[in-house]
């Protein structure tokens, strides 16, 4: 340097020093001066000794350095951007010559300010050393932060290769790559020498030692050693199961490892939970097979764990102590690898635990449905195959139960898992309300119930119904029909193993079993128990199908039954029944049928006559009473009762008619002058009633009963009918009879109307009988009179005396209606009681009779009209037909009466009814 330059430098230096050196207040000037001088000397020396700068002057380089530093130090590029702007501005300035030097100076100064804390008491040995000493400086600073200790080569390899984000643990590591950059660049510059080139070897050496980690506790090999135990759910020294649901991971591990261990903990915990479940022994058969299937899978998992353990052992044996982390990365087995290896097993375990979770509280068919739903509807094919595997195992007890049910009819279900459940006696009674349905009916209907909830989804609803029927029938055959032998032989020959997955075969077997069983049952019913014969017999006797028998019975019983009910004796009734059987075609029926036929008396109440309490009975016992239920028997009796009454009226009217007709030729002819007109009216009325009764009977017997019977036969003899079908058909048959037979309909009370009508008819018959007796009495009287006249004439007296003529006048004078008001004379000759019609009160009797007859016939008419009106409005075509037939010549005006008004206008047709036969029109 030139002198002037030196001077300038000195001057400037002095000035600078003045500015830099601080002043301490209270310091005496001597010390300050001394300080100043020291500083000056030092500065001067160093400046002179430094010489030329060592680094080649490259402005761009230095600006890059500065930029990097700014970015590094501040984390945001904005300062670097600002610097860039300033730098470009600076470049454009012409003034400064030593731009590079200036920038370099600033750069160096700034570096030193940040590293100022660590400068400490160091001697300046060059910039390279300074650089170097910075590096060890920072690790000590951060030594207490554990997280960055974990920088094993494994992790670096793992994270850098897979591009995983590394946790921002250390600020040193970012420095590392950055610091490599300056070293890279320095390498590129060939003429670099000195401190900077010395940086490289220093830094390379310090890289391994730089990653100064504290060994993690517990170390990875330890963790690996314990892993197989953990995966089996056993506590190990490092990973302890604090409870059955939690695994403790030692807290001293870094976070990436912790997350790995989390992943590995999942199968361990799952396995633990699952093995607990598998050990538990609640639940039924299906539950147990579920558990065994799961344990099979778990065993496979354990196999995997064993393999893993083998691998780990092998790897641990290969560990190299010298390498960092004992070279575990090179051995090939790390925690991360284990995670990969257990991934699929974890999925399986997860699925199993989901199943276990959902299966709580379910059993039997529900459990099967659950697993089946996994195999059917899940999207993941892995899940589906898994569930399929389980299913074949789990459904085995179910199929066992099914097989027994189908082929033996026995329910072997200790845990109530099957979808057919047996009901005990009390339950049945509760269901039916005091066991109304007794006998075999309840066995058939109620002993077994189909539980829809327990039907597994592997079989369809229809299938389940079939299965239910088959088993029920088999059971019924065995117990109800007493045909256990057949069941045994059948089960022996037909029973075969049922399995899951064999759907076509299964359906085939079930179809076969169904057909065979049903056919057997029907044939049993028909042959052994003569079901159809009994139904026929019921129709013949109870429904009055056998006319000859009924006629004889009625004849023989009629006298008896006229007497009051409490004078009837059972044996007389039975004797009459026997008599009737012997004298009709009924004697040709089989003994079995006749045995069941019986006559009985219903409960008596006061004032009833025999007709009201008599009934026939047909005994039905098991198993036929499955079809003819007790309720059905009651319906039969009701119909019998009704038909019997109608028959009785018919019989009564018929006998009256007979008497009238025969009497007309003899007795009544003689008195026709007096009562002839009455007789005509009476005859017409009786004919009307007979017509009515006949039509009614015809309707019921032929239109209703026969046609329903035909339907029943058809239904019963269909080839595919089951017992349930038969029951239904029979019930329908009875229902239609009761309904159409005017007994059962709810809205209109046909029964009551008909009963009234019958009563009216009977009363009319009595009245006609009265008329008849009156006529007979009259006739007798006339006979006597003429006999008396004859005897008197023979004696030579007057044939007819005053007394006689008086009495006679009353009797023999053709009496016109209305001219009956004769003073009654006491007839000395006939001191009969007043009421005797043959006596002297004929005046009263005959008019009374006439009035009565008229009233009755009017009443009859009215009732028939009402009945017809109701019948016409029935929805059933048959009933309308009845109405039409009864009123074929429109003689009646059907009246649709309102319920409140008991009677409507009486028929206007009475005068015309007298000559109604053959006449048409209104």
């Amino acid at each position: 340097m030139s002198k002037s330059q030196e001077e300038r430098v000195e001057h400037a230096l002095t000035q600078l020093l003045e500015h830099i050196l601080p002043s301490y207040p209270g310091e005496d000037p001597a010390a300050a001066d001394e300080r100043f001088d020291d500083a000056f000397d030092f500065a001067f020396d160093s400046i002179n000794s430094a010489g030329a700068p060592l680094i080649a002057s490259n402005v761009n380089h230095v600006s890059d350095l500065i930029k990097h530093k700014l970015v590094r130090d501040n984390g945001s590029p904005e300062r670097a951007l600002r610097f860039g702007n300033l730098y470009s501005k600076l470049l454009s300035q012409p003034v400064l010559n030593q731009k590079w030097a200036m920038l370099h100076f600033l750069y160096k100064l700034s570096e030193s300010t940040t590293g100022q804390d660590h400068s400490g008491s160091r001697t300046i040995q060059g910039i390279g050393v300074q650089n170097q000493t910075q590096l060890p400086g920072t690790p000590p600073k951060r030594q207490d932060e554990q997280q960055e200790q974990m920088r094993s080569p494994v992790f670096n390899e793992a994270f850098s290769n897979s591009g995983l984000l590394k946790l921002p643990v250390s600020s040193e590591s970012p420095k590392q790559p950055l610091r490599h950059i300056p070293s890279d660049r320095t390498e590129r510059k060939k003429d670099r020498k000195g401190v900077d080139t010395s940086k490289d070897p220093v830094e390379d050496e310090s890289s391994p030692s730089e990653r100064k980690y504290l060994p993690m506790k517990p170390s990875e090999p330890n963790l690996l050693r314990d892993l197989p135990f953990t995966l089996q759910g056993l506590s190990a020294s490092t990973l302890v199961f604090s409870s059955s649901k939690t695994l403790e991971i030692p807290p001293t591990l870094p976070i990436p490892l912790v997350s790995l261990l989390h992943t590995l903990a999942e199968p361990s915990l799952l396995y633990r939970g699952l093995s607990e479940f598998v050990e538990s022994s609640e639940g039924g058969l299906v539950g147990q097979s579920f558990r065994s299937a799961l344990s099979k899978e778990l065993r496979a998992y354990l196999g995997l764990v064993a393999t893993l353990e083998g691998e780990i052992k092998r790897a641990l044996a290969m560990l190299d102590e010298s390498q960092p982390y004992q070279g575990i990365g090179k051995a090939g087995v790390t925690l991360k690898r284990c995670v990969i290896w257990t991934r699929e097993a974890t999925m399986g375990l997860r699925l199993m635990s989901v199943m276990v979770e959902q299966s709580k509280g379910k059993k039997g068919g529900q459990l099967i449905s659950l697993i089946h739903s996994f195999s059917l509807t899940h999207g993941d094919p892995y899940v589906r195959t898994f569930a399929e595997r389980l299913l074949s195992h789990v459904t085995r007890p179910f199929y066992e139960m099914l097989r027994q049910w189908i082929y033996d009819g026995e329910l072997a279900d200790p845990w109530l898992e099957f979808f057919v459940s047996e009901q005990s006696e009390e339950e049945i009674n509760d269901l039916n309300g005091d066991g109304r349905k007794g006998g075999a009916t309840s066995v058939w209907e109620d002993k077994y119930k189909l539980k829809d909830g327990m039907i597994p989804s592997i079989i369809t609803e229809e299938f389940a119904k079939k299965v239910f029927l088959i088993g029920k029938s088999l059971n019924f055959i065995r117990y109800g029909c007493g045909d256990a032998q057949w069941v045994e032989s059948y089960s022996k020959e037909a029973s075969k193993e049922l399995r899951y997955g064999d759907t076509a075969n299964l359906e085939h077997s079930i179809g076969e079993a169904y057909k065979t069983t049903m056919a057997r049952l029907i044939s049993l019913m028909a042959d052994k128990f003569k079901l159809f014969e009994h139904l026929q017999a019921l129709k013949k006797y109870i429904l009055l199908g056998a006319g000859d028998f009924i006629a004889v019975l009625m004849e023989s019983l009629s006298n008896n039954l006229d007497r009051p009910a409490n004078s009837q004796y059972r044996h007389t009734l039975t004797a009459q029944l026997e008599h009737a059987v012997r004298n009709s075609n009924a004697q040709y029926d089989s003994q079995d049928v006749l045995r069941r036929l019986d006559s009985r008396m219903l409960e008596l109440s006061h004032g009833e006559i025999g007709w009201d309490v008599f009934t026939l009975e047909y005994k039905i016992d098991a198993p036929v009473d499955v079809i003819v239920t007790p309720f059905g028997s009651k319906q039969y009796l009701k119909v019998f009762n009704f038909l019997w009454r109608v028959k009785r009226v018919e019989f009564a009217l018929g006998s009256t008619w007979r008497r009238c007709m025969t009497g007309a030729r003899s007795v009544l002819g003689t008195v026709s002058d007096k009562v002839g007109a009455d007789w005509k009216i009476a005859r017409c009325a009786v004919a009307e009633m007979i017509h009515f009764v006949n039509q009614l009977q015809y309707y019921i017997l032929f239109e209703v009963i026969e046609s329903s019977w035909n339907e029943l036969q058809e239904a019963m003899h269909r080839p595919e009918s089951t017992l349930d079908d038969l029951i239904q058909a029979h019930a329908r048959y009875l229902n239609s009879i009761t309904r159409k037979g005017l007994l059962g309909s709810q809205n209109t009370d046909f029964t009551g109307q008909l009963h009234e009508l019958l009563k009216v008819m009977l009363a009319y018959k009595d009245a006609v009988d009265g008329l008849y007796s009156f006529s007979v009495a009259e006739f007798t009287r006339r006979q006597e009179m003429s006999a008396k006249i004859e005897t008197r004439t023979a004696e030579g007296r007057w044939g007819v005396t005053e007394k006689d003529s008086l009495a006679d006048t009353d009797a023999s004078t053709p009496s016109l209606p209305g001219s009956k008001r004769r003073p009654r004379t006491k007839d000395a000759e006939s001191p009969f009681p007043l009421l005797q019609p043959a006596g002297g009160n004929e005046d009263d009797v005959l008019p009374a009779l006439r009035i009565r007859l008229k009233n009755l016939s009017v009443d009859f008419r009215a009732r028939v009209n009402v009945l017809l009106g109701d019948l016409y409005h029935q929805p059933d075509a048959d009933m309308r037909w009845l109405a039409m037939v009864m009123n074929f010549n429109d003689v009646y005006q059907p009246v649709r009466k309102k319920r409140r008004v008991p009677e409507k206008k009486p028929s206007r047709e009475t005068p015309r009814a007298v000559g109604a036969e053959g006449k048409t029109g209104k």
Partner: protein, 74 residues
């Protein structure tokens, strides 16, 4: 035209401004006057690294009681 003095001074001021901004960015804790003296020293050929060392040493040896350096002078 050769730059006039005024222009030179203007330019010098600008340069100093720029340098001062840079120095602030780099946290060098140099105020304006110190910076200008450093500039002149370096312009006169002083080794910048040596100068930086000097500054650093002096700062370390004589830590400032306050941020501002009040030259007390001699």
């Amino acid at each position: 035209m050769p730059p006039t003095d005024a222009e030179k001074r203007q330019a010098a001021r600008e340069v100093i401004d720029i340098l001062q901004e840079i120095a602030t960015l780099l946290n060098t804790n140099l105020n304006r006057q110190q910076l200008s003296y450093c500039v002149s020293l370096i312009e006169n050929g002083v080794n910048p690294e040596a100068l930086a060392n000097v500054v650093r040493e002096l700062r370390a040896q004589y830590p400032q009681p306050s941020e501002e350096s009040e030259p007390d002078g001699k």
